[in-house]
Each structure stands twice: as structure tokens, then as C-alpha cells.
């Protein structure tokens, strides 16, 4: 039932309406002659508070408000991948075609192209019993994505009465008739789903597979899981956005959903220009074939910024239900929280910390709780996952502020971005002492499959860095001159570890992506060099002599060796290392001490 009321107050994106009896919380409404889209965020008798998803300039008290009877929903079906949507799933390319380069109100083109025909292959026959989540057919959405057409969640079980033959159909064309206990229902290639309601699944699974990112510091030291959560807090200029974009490019997920939430327009333009040209490392196909972008830049209406997070996670759940590993990257959740704060302020709610509403923590929790690895609904055992990675922009770089604080409690991986690294252009500027991954333990066996000594290497590398840090404090007090070769060796190799391994150039054509095997080999080689250096120094070889070995230069260039040639390089360097250190041993016979 839809209600018709009238506007009684307009204050920016916030409106009050009366005569709204019969409307529901979170119902979508159309306001005034312009038909501005809004959502009911509070009900009080027959009065309703509305947040508008579009500009409200010119709206007058007394104008009509019409309820649509439906909550804010997204269209789910073939055609999502490769699209760029705003926070309420309006396709930005279509908006441009309709009204030009600026976003003005009152346009609401459908999210999916309702005219485009898709090749549909049916997978079930008449009279087959089906459960919700079962695939009744398939559409090849992009070269990378097989789009399974699933029985929507509200049909618990039923029988296929009829299904169309293989052929081309629009998303709104009925493709099957299903008989349930409640009657008969038509299924289409698409259906819609309310964004604030999580889609159902069967069971939650443990998260024991890492989501590889091709970023050495993450894959080696602080991996997140398929179905896991991670957060990147950092002040401006620490490299959040570049890192999130690298992750969106290289994460080994089947579907990536990138949310630009209250961020810069030029950055979104960069992604929109870059992604359609970049190739996926594994498949060699264009990255856009697995990417959906939700872009609500900082100058676009804030209510749509608030909803963009839900829009994105709902799209993610839809692909998870097909059995895919989905990664959602949100940049930045702080802007989302600010939208929440602004709306709450206009509603004159009692503020909590720093003016944020008291329900900030529970809203954040709701978002991260929609991540996870699950068995999906349906007759057969399918497994899908959503990894949620959120950037946080703490004001003044202060990690004690509410959004960062709550997020850290809700997520299990913390990539701490560090200004002092960023200032010396060490990227990714992830601080190796502050960051952590709570998943490490459950990945142990996975990593041992890549290299049995992996846990040991990781520990060695970390303790080397720690040792260097401690020595640094000493040096800053008494100077480097007092160090012996043994300590200086820690400095030198720690520097190599930082410069040759941890430092990774997101813009270098080879270095931008490092497969896990290469990461492992690189780390092993550097630590082998360390081990041999320590031995040589202990034998009395001067450190300067070790450092002038030719193999050191080759270690420096490892990162720009193409992954497919790296096995060879690995062998060559190992061989050279043993030769060159061997020669050192000959030149300085045992027993000769310094």
C-alpha cells in the first residue's frame, strides 16, 4: 500500500512529511513535482522523516510525497559486471547519455539494461524439484563470469512448471514458471532485493584460505582471508587509495566490487579509465570483466553515500550466492560514517562520541557481518565468500577516533599506514610493527604448501626488522660508528629487506603484481643472503667485502624480473650466492680474525 502525504519541512537533504500513515520504515518515496527519490528514516505517528537521495533545492512545504510501498532495492541480474553505479544503483554512463556530464535530479534509469538480450541456457527440466538458490540456467555475462540464474531466496521450494528453451531474452522476460505451495510464480533473469536486508545462506564456514593480493608485504606477513575482513586506516597521503586500487586490481577474487564512497571525482575517473584497459594476471582478460564500481563522490548527495555501502554488499551477496569469491573494497567507510552523522544530526538525535550517532558501532558491525565464507542456499554444496576491506580516514590521523576504533574491533586484519614511510616514498606504506593479521594461524598449512619453511622465514624476517629498530634507537643516541660488523650487518640486510622486498611500486609494469611463489622465493633469497653474511662476518670477513658482492645487485633487481622467468632467476641467484660467498671463504681462511 502506498501513502500520499505532504512535505512540512525541508532542511538540506532532510525532509519532514505529514499524512504518511501506513508507510513503512525505509520505504522509498518520491517527493514533489521533481520526483526526488527519498527514503523514510523515522516514523512518528503520521509524520515521517525522509532522507533525500537527490538535491532538494526548490522543494516547498505543501508539495506531495508519494510512497512506493517498497524499500530501497537493487536490481540483480546479468549486466551488473562492468557497470559503474551511483550509491542507489543508477548507472552513471546512462545518466550521462540522458542528461550530460552533470548529475541533476529526477533521472532514474533502470540499473540493468532492460532492452539488452542475453543468451540463456536452461539447466533444469520441467517437473524438476528446486530449492531457493538452485541454478535454473546460465548466462555468460562476461568472458570471466558465468552468471548462474538462481531461484530467488523467497521461493523456499517448488517445481518447475515450465522453462524457456535456450535463446536470447531480456532481463525482464519470464524464463520459468515455478509452482510453490503458495501458488505459481514467474521467474526472470533478474530480480530485486532490498539493500538493507542480508541475503540468506546455509552455513558460515571457517576462513582458512588467504585472499592473495600480489602485494608482497600483505601476502607474506598480513594476509586476509577469502571471506575475511580487513581495514586500512591512514591519514591523507598515506597511500590508502592507491593501495585499495592495487587490491581491487590484483586480489584473486572472482568478482571485485569497488566502492568510492564520498571520495574524489578524479580518482574515480582514473579507475574508470584504467580498469577497462588493465588485464587480469591469471586469465589475461580485462579486469573490468569481473569488476563492478559503485561511485558516489564527495560532491554527490550524502544520503546516496550512506546507501552505497549497502548497495555494494548486496551485489556482493548476489554473486556469493552463485558460488563466487567476492571482494568488496570500500573507500572510505569514514565518509560513510560522516553521512550517517549528518543525517542523524538533522534528525536531532542524541549524539554519541564526536557527534556520531550512538548506533555507529552497530551499523559498522552490520556491514562487516555480511562478509564471510558460506555454503550457499540450494540443493548442491556450493561455497562462496565475501571479503570486506574498508579504508578508514581518521581525522588528523588519530586512530583513537570512533570510526577507526569501532572498525578495528570488527575486523581481523589491520594494515596500518605510516606517514614516515609515505614521506620517504616507501609504498605500500604499511607499518610492519603495527599491522597484524589474526588469520595467520589458520593459514599455516596453506603457506606450508607453498614453501615448507615459510613460517620460519616470516619469523626471521620480522625479528630482523625488530632487531634493526632496536639498534636504531641505540644509534640515534650514540651514533653508528660504535657498531661492529655484526650489528651493521643487521642494518644492511634490514635495509635490503625493506628496499628489495617490502617496497613495491604500484605503477611499475612488473613490480605492481607479485605472485605468491615469487614472493616466497624472494624472501627466501634475501634471508639466505642474511644467513650467509652472518656466517661470513662471524668468520671475520669484513662486511664491506660482503656488500660489494655482485649478487647483492641481483637481489635488488629481483622485483623487476617477470614472474614467469623467476624460477630461473631464483636458481641462478642461489648458485651465484653460493659461489660468491664460497670465494669469500677462500680469500679469508678460517682462523684469521679481525
Amino acid at each position: 500500500m502506498s501513502s500520499v502525504g505532504t512535505i512540512s519541512r525541508v532542511a538540506g537533504p532532510f525532509l519532514l512529511a505529514k499524512g504518511m500513515a501506513g508507510s513503512r520504515m525505509y520505504e522509498l518515496v518520491r517527493v514533489g513535482e521533481a520526483g526526488v527519490i527519498g527514503e523514510i528514516v523515522r516514523l512518528d505517528g503520521e509524520k515521517a522523516a525522509i532522507q533525500a537521495y537527490e538535491e532538494t533545492i526548490g522543494i516547498k512545504p505543501g508539495e506531495k510525497v508519494v510512497g512506493t510501498g517498497k524499500p530501497l532495492s537493487v536490481e540483480l541480474g546479468p549486466g551488473l559486471v562492468g557497470q559503474i553505479y551511483d550509491g542507489i544503483q543508477r548507472p552513471l554512463s546512462v545518466i550521462q547519455d540522458l542528461i550530460g556530464p552533470r548529475i541533476r535530479r529526477g533521472v532514474a534509469p533502470p540499473a540493468l539494461d532492460h532492452k539488452k538480450k542475453w543468451s540463456f541456457q536452461p539447466m533444469v527440466k520441467e517437473k524438476t524439484k528446486i530449492l531457493s538458490g538452485d541454478a535454473i540456467g546460465m548466462v555468460q555475462e562476461t568472458p570471466l563470469v558465468k552468471h548462474w540464474i538462481l531461484v530467488p531466496p523467497w521461493i523456499k521450494e517448488g517445481f518447475v512448471e515450465s522453462i524457456v528453451p535456450e535463446g536470447k531474452y531480456e532481463v525482464t522476460h519470464p524464463i520459468a514458471q515455478v509452482k510453490t505451495t503458495e501458488g505459481s510464480e514467474k521467474l526472470h533473469l533478474m530480480h530485486s532485493w532490498p539493500v538493507r536486508q542480508p541475503r540468506p545462506y546455509k552455513t558460515m564456514l571457517p576462513t582458512d584460505v588467504p585472499l592473495l593480493t600480489g602485494q608482497r608485504i600483505i601476502d607474506a606477513f598480513f594476509p586476509t582471508a577469502k571471506g575475511g575482513t580487513a581495514t586500512i586506516p591512514g591519514g591523507f597521503g598515506a597511500g590508502k587509495t592507491v593501495m585499495l586500487q592495487s587490491l581491487a586490481q590484483w586480489a584473486d577474487a572472482d568478482i571485485v566490487i569497488l566502492v568510492g564512497c564520498g571520495e574524489r571525482g578524479n580518482e574515480m575517473a582514473d579507475v574508470i579509465e584504467k580498469f577497462p584497459k588493465l588485464k587480469d594476471y591469471r586469465s589475461g582478460k580485462l579486469l573490468m570483466n569481473r569488476t563492478v564500481i559503485v561511485a558516489n563522490t564527495s560532491d554527490m548527495p550524502i544520503a546516496a553515500r550512506e546507501s552505497s555501502i549497502y548497495t555494494a554488499i548486496t551485489l556482493a551477496e548476489y554473486y556469493r550466492d552463485m558460488g563466487y569469491d567476492v571482494a568488496v573494497m570500500a573507500d572510505s567507510t569514514s565518509r560513510w560514517a560522516e553521512a550517517l552523522r549528518e543525517i542523524s544530526g538533522r534528525l536531532e538525535e542524541m549524539p554519541g562520541e564526536e557527534g556520531y550517532p550512538a548506533y555507529l558501532a552497530s551499523r559498522l558491525a552490520e556491514f562487516y557481518a555480511r562478509a564471510g565464507r558460506v555454503t550457499t542456499c540450494g540443493s548442491d554444496e556450493k561455497c562462496g565468500s565475501i571479503t570486506a576491506i574498508g579504508a578508514v580516514s581518521p581525522p588528523g590521523g588519530d586512530f583513537s577516533e570512533p570510526v577507526t576504533g569501532h572498525t578495528l574491533r570488527l575486523t581481523r586484519v589491520f594494515w596500518a599506514l605510516d606517514f614516515s614511510l609515505a614521506h620517504r616514498r616507501h609504498f605500500p606504506a604499511i607499518n610492519w610493527f603495527m599491522s597484524y593479521s589474526e588469520y595467520m594461524r589458520s593459514f599455516e598449512s596453506w603457506y606450508e604448501n607453498v614453501g615448507p619453511d615459510w613460517p620460519k622465514l616470516r619469523e626471521e624476517a620480522m625479528s630482523l626488522l625488530k632487531e634493526e629498530e632496536e639498534l636504531k634507537e641505540v644509534v640515534s643516541l650514540v651514533g653508528a660508528e660504535i657498531l661492529g660488523d655484526k650489528q651493521r650487518c643487521v642494518f644492511e640486510v634490514a635495509k635490503m629487506l625493506k628496499e628489495y622486498f617490502l617496497l613495491q611500486n604500484a605503477f611499475h609494469p612488473v613490480d605492481m603484481y607479485c605472485p605468491i611463489k615469487k614472493t616466497y622465493q624472494m624472501l627466501r633469497l634475501i634471508l639466505e643472503f642474511y644467513e650467509r653474511t652472518k656466517q661470513a662476518v662471524a668468520r671475520g670477513v669484513p662486511l664491506t667485502q660482503v656488500l660489494s658482492l655482485g649478487v647483492k645487485g641481483e637481489l635488488a633487481r629481483m622485483k623487476i624480473v617477470r614472474p614467469e622467468e623467476f624460477d630461473e632467476t631464483n636458481l641462478a641467484i642461489t648458485k651465484k650466492m653460493s659461489e660468491q660467498f664460497g670465494q669469500l671463504a677462500e680469500e679469508t681462511p678460517e682462523g684469521e680474525s679481525v
Binding site: 532538494t56 559503474i84 556530464p101 557527534g355 614521506h423 620517504r424 643516541l477
Partner: protein
């Protein structure tokens, strides 16, 4: 400022006046954001805007302030229009008040059109990514944090630091290489002193650029509330030049700190729940609605490059104004008081400064292929040098290793002769990069971990000179 229709209805129902706000009752048919006239008892006319409208009370902000207004004899007349700026090419070479009125004693403009001063968000899909390097002739900017056409890159300054000189040097020297067309300048001043206003005006005049500058000035003594619209008027003019006339516009907004103070004042008068340090919770969104008006649009030949200038209260970069700005703009150029005290000009600290669009704007065909790697290496070396300088302070230079001492030497020369340059010295990018190489080659080549070996061979003076020597020999 905007054309006001004379037909609107007049209401004498002002109930309350608080700060810059009027609360009016019993009005009807008024829309949110509508423009209105406020008439004082003496018949003076001011302009205002509806910022909250309900059946009971309508809240109005008055741009010329509320002094002398009263609740009885003053009246408001609603116009049914939003605030619009009359736009025309004749705006160039002219000076306007912060409210958009002609302020140079010249004739009124004959507008070609009226544009809504709030603009409309640019569809991110329709944006074109900025890629054209702007040579400012200032090494520390061009090499380390280059400005790109369509970027918004603020100067974070402090009171007493020479941001005015830098801004004026940039206005004078900025150009896109290989293109003759000079930038059209839109200059918006908010809350600056008459002295500063004169400095800029005379400066533009002496540079001979006045004919391609449109100036909007809200002085310190003008009503604070007017500052809310000054940048919006200026950017509307900029949009007209850029996207209607196809010009490349450099918009300078000074001082955004004063703008934010005005924002706080209104928020307090509305009794809104404050965010950090009393600034309204929506300040990020509000600032974004200004800064995001920079950029390029696909299919249009013009562009808007923004250089907002703000003074950090107490030089504190974590203060909400620089903080929120930094989160919206594409980098920042930071002026440092300590450097300034050493007498170095420009006192820019490259380490915390950043240009996010750097990678798009430089490289072969734009600047030079070695630019990115060289600047990365310079960054590393200068950061290292600064750390070692601290160490040397504590434990004496004797405690440093040989290479450490070279880093110190590098840092000193880099500061003095690379960052440092004259206020009218205009270095082209080749000169800047060559200087960078020259200072860097104080260090042994084995330290150059951020540069490809081929690039080192091609550009390092050690190699290029050797090659030159060899060719002399042969």
C-alpha cells in the same frame, strides 16, 4: 550579484534574528535554497538564502549580515529563484565584491547568461582524468609534487609565511609545455586584509595579466557570512570560462580558513550539533562541494585547476580545516615555518607534501622518462638525510658512517640549491631534473635503489659526462 525579480511577495513576519540568521514565520510557497531580498527599515536591500523551510518557521541566512535589522520594520521578499551569477566574458579584467557586485567602479556587466552558483556534481563517469603537466618553474613543486591541469592542489601555509609570493609566482610562471595559451585566472579572496588585496591587484597589474583575471574579494571587514558564497561565485565564473568558453582556468582561493570559520559561525547560530572543534559535521561535504568543482569534463576543451590556500591554525596540520581539505584535494604543498626561518625561499617541505596526480602528469612525452624514479630517489635521500641530521645533532658527525655523511651533504645542498630558488627564477623542467641528478650524484650509485640501471646510465652526470669525455677522446 544575482538578478532579483521585483515581483515577489513581501513579508513583515521576522520573528527572531540570531547571528547571521533570520527566522521568519507565516510564509508560504517558499522553496528550500530560494533567494530573497531583505529590506531594512531605511529601505536598504540585502540578499539572503533560505536554508531551512517548514510550515512554521523559515530560516534565512543574510549575506550582508544582520546588523541594523529589526523584527518589526524589516521585511523579506522571496524571489522564487535560486542564487545565480550573471556570467560573461567581460568578467575578465574586473573586480567584484565577495557577493558578486562590481567593485572597481567600472560599468555593470551585460550578462550572457545566469548560472546557478551551487553548480551540480560532475558525473564521475563524465570526468576526464587530468594528465597535462603544468610547469610552475618552481623545482620543488615541478619535480617533487607536480601540478596537473584539472587538479586541486592546496597550499597549506601558516600566518606570516610567504604563500602570497608563491601563489603570485605560480600565476606568473605557470604554463603547459608546448601550448601557448596562458591560464585564465579566477581569484577568490575570503576575509583577507585590504593590504593583501592590494598586493594581489598590484601584482597582477605589474605582471600584465590583469586582463585575464577575474577577481572576487571579500575583505576581512566584510560580513563573514558573505564568504559562504564568494568561492561559489568565483567557481561559477571559472566553470563558465572553462566549460562554456573552453579556457584553461587556474582558480586561486584564499584563505579557506576564513571560509570555514564563517561556516562554523552559521552552524553555531543554527544550534547544530557540532563535530570536531565546533566545526559542523557536514564541513567535509561542504568543502567537497567547492573543491570537487575542479577538473576536466570529457568532450569539453577547458579545465579548472584549483589552488586553494589556507593558513593552518597554529601550524597544526591535524586541525579540521587542513585535515578535511587534505582528504578531498589531490595532494597538498606544505609550507614549513622552520624552513622559512632559515631564510630559504620557497619554504616548502617536500616530504609531507604530495601530488596525487603526479604519475599521470609526468613521464616520457610530458616531462622526461627519469622524472618519477629520480623524484622517488630524491625523496628517499632527503628523508634519510634529515634523519641523519638529527642523529648528528645528538651524537656528533663523527658518529656517522662515510655514506651517512654523504647523505648529510646531499640534504644540505638539496635544500639550499634545489628547493631554494629566487622569487622570479623560472626553471624549466629539464633544468630542474638535471639539478636533481647533479645533487644526487654526491651519493654512490649503489644507493640508487629506486632507479632502473638504464635510467642511471642515461641521465646520471657521472655517466653522461664520461660519455661526453669519451666522445671527446674518440
Amino acid at each position: 550579484m544575482s538578478e532579483v525579480t521585483r515581483t515577489g511577495r513581501k513579508f513583515f513576519t521576522i520573528r527572531e534574528i540570531s547571528g547571521p540568521l533570520l527566522f521568519v514565520e507565516e510564509v508560504s510557497g517558499v522553496g528550500y535554497g530560494e533567494l530573497l531580498e531583505v529590506l531594512t527599515a531605511d529601505g536598504e536591500e540585502r540578499t539572503g538564502q533560505v536554508i531551512d523551510v517548514s510550515e512554521g518557521i523559515t530560516t534565512v541566512q543574510v549575506f550582508q549580515g544582520t546588523s541594523d535589522l529589526d523584527v518589526k520594520a524589516s521585511a523579506v521578499r522571496f524571489t522564487g529563484e535560486t542564487i545565480k551569477l550573471p556570467v560573461s566574458m567581460d568578467m575578465l579584467g574586473r573586480v567584484f565584491t565577495g557577493g558578486g557586485k562590481v567593485a572597481d567602479g567600472g560599468p555593470e556587466l551585460i550578462p550572457e547568461d545566469y548560472w546557478d552558483i551551487h553548480g551540480a556534481p560532475i558525473n564521475p563517469y563524465s570526468r576526464e582524468h587530468p594528465i597535462d603537466f603544468i610547469q610552475t618553474g618552481i623545482s620543488v613543486i615541478d619535480c617533487m609534487n607536480p601540478l596537473v591541469r584539472g587538479q586541486k592542489l592546496p597550499l597549506f601555509s601558516g600566518s606570516g609565511l610567504p604563500h602570497k609570493l608563491i601563489a603570485s609566482q605560480i600565476v606568473r610562471q605557470a604554463k603547459v609545455r608546448g601550448q601557448e595559451e596562458a591560464f585564465t585566472i579566477v581569484f577568490a579572496a575570503m576575509g583577507i586584509t585590504a593590504d593583501e588585496a592590494r598586493f594581489f591587484r598590484e601584482d597582477f597589474m605589474s605582471m600584465g595579466v590583469l586582463s585575464r583575471v577575474a577577481i572576487f574579494i571579500n575583505l576581512a571587514e566584510d560580513p563573514a557570512i558573505e564568504r559562504i558564497i564568494t568561492p561559489r561565485l568565483a567557481l561559477t565564473a571559472a566553470e563558465y570560462f572553462a566549460f562554456e568558453q573552453g579556457m584553461h582556468v587556474l582558480a586561486i582561493l584564499i584563505d579557506m580558513t576564513n571560509y570555514c570559520e564563517a561556516l562554523r559561525e552559521i552552524s553555531a547560530a543554527r544550534m547544530e550539533i557540532p563535530g570536531r572543534r565546533g566545526y559542523p559535521g557536514y564541513m567535509y561535504t561542504d568543502l567537497a562541494s567547492i573543491y570537487e568543482r575542479a577538473g576536466r569534463i570529457r568532450g569539453k576543451s577547458g579545465s579548472i585547476t584549483q589552488m586553494p590556500i589556507l593558513t593552518m591554525p597554529d601550524d597544526d596540520i591535524t586541525h579540521p580545516i587542513p585535515d578535511l581539505t587534505g582528504y578531498i584535494t589531490e595532494g597538498q604543498i606544505i609550507l614549513d615555518r622552520k624552513v622559512h626561518k632559515t631564510g630559504l625561499y620557497p619554504p616548502i617541505d617536500p616530504l609531507p607534501s604530495l601530488s596525487r596526480l603526479m604519475d599521470k602528469g609526468i613521464g616520457p612525452g610530458k616531462t622526461r622518462e627519469d622524472h618519477k624514479q629520480l623524484s622517488d630517489q630524491l625523496y628517499y635521500a632527503y628523508a634519510e638525510g634529515k634523519v641523519l641530521r638529527e642523529t648528528a645533532l645528538v651524537s656528533g658527525e663523527a658518529a656517522l658512517t662515510k655514506v651517512d655523511k654523504l647523505y648529510l651533504q646531499f640534504a644540505d645542498r638539496f635544500e639550499r640549491d634545489f628547493i631554494g630558488q629566487g622569487t622570479s627564477e623560472n626553471r624549466d623542467i629539464e633544468k630542474t631534473l638535471d639539478l636533481g641528478w647533479e645533487f644526487l650524484s654526491v651519493l654512490p650509485e649503489s644507493e640508487f635503489s629506486r632507479i632502473d640501471p638504464d635510467i642511471i646510465k642515461k641521465y646520471s652526470p657521472k655517466h653522461t659526462r664520461k660519455d661526453a669525455d669519451n666522445s671527446l677522446v674518440s
